[in-house]
Amino acid sequence: MDVLYFAWVRERIGLPKERVETSAATVRELVDELRAREARYEAAFADLSALRVAVDQDLADFDAPLAGVRELAFFPPMTGG
């Protein structure tokens, strides 16, 4: 699945997009996998309350299932307008 990062999440992880193969069942499980992988993910995902997640371009929560998902995105709370 494609995983996208925006704003300071992108900056901490160091790239805007990557291809991730996972057997994680939910967003939260994938986050745990990534955090265990490298310090930059740990830095980005340290405080999930400061993060938002979109599943296939719709806002979702961290318990959302990953089955069939093509695009996942992590970013801080939005500041549009």
Binding site: L4, F6, A7, W8, R10, A54, Q57, D58, L59, A73, F75, P76, P77, M78, T79, G80, G81
Partner: protein
């Protein structure tokens, strides 16, 4: 309904005029425009990042919700991304309705949701460096009104 997401500047006055001219039977038009604000003279530029694809989808969903809640003659949303100078117009909304209360409410609804539910992120660039603008609790709380 017209929704535009673009990097290029837009002409607020021309957009507002075009919007009003296309109306029929409407008594009230409200516009909001958001400008790059420089509070202390230190801002060099504002950079607005967005999520191509999701941005248009999210704005369309917000706009359709506004149309479902109020009887609107038309509505317009234009939002820029990229690098903007202080004083530049970041975005605008326009709403038209028969009466003023509907037009005002729909415009405020659009703004409250665009602020916290459309995937844009603002970064302030100053001589001292760059800083992401933090979302405000009051912006999240503003959604409770609807």
């Amino acid at each position: 309904m017209r929704i535009v997401v673009q990097e290029a500047p837009f002409d607020f006055a021309a957009e507002a005029q075009g919007f009003s001219r296309g109306l029929s039977g409407m008594g009230a038009v409200v516009t909001f425009s958001g400008l790059v604000r420089d509070d202390d003279g230190r801002l060099a530029a504002m950079e607005i990042e967005h999520y191509p694809g999701m941005t248009e989808k999210a704005i369309r969903a917000i706009a359709e919700e506004a149309q479902a809640r109020w009887s609107l003659g038309d509505l317009l949303v234009i939002h820029r991304h990229g690098l903007l100078a202080p004083g530049e117009t970041i975005m605008m909304v326009a709403t038209a309705a028969r009466h003023r209360a509907e037009a005002f409410e729909a415009a405020e609804f659009l703004m409250d949701y665009l602020k916290s539910r459309a995937p844009f992120w603002k970064k302030e660039l100053t001589a001292d460096g760059a800083e992401w603008v933090a979302a405000k609790d009051e912006d999240e709380a503003a959604l409770d009104r609807w």
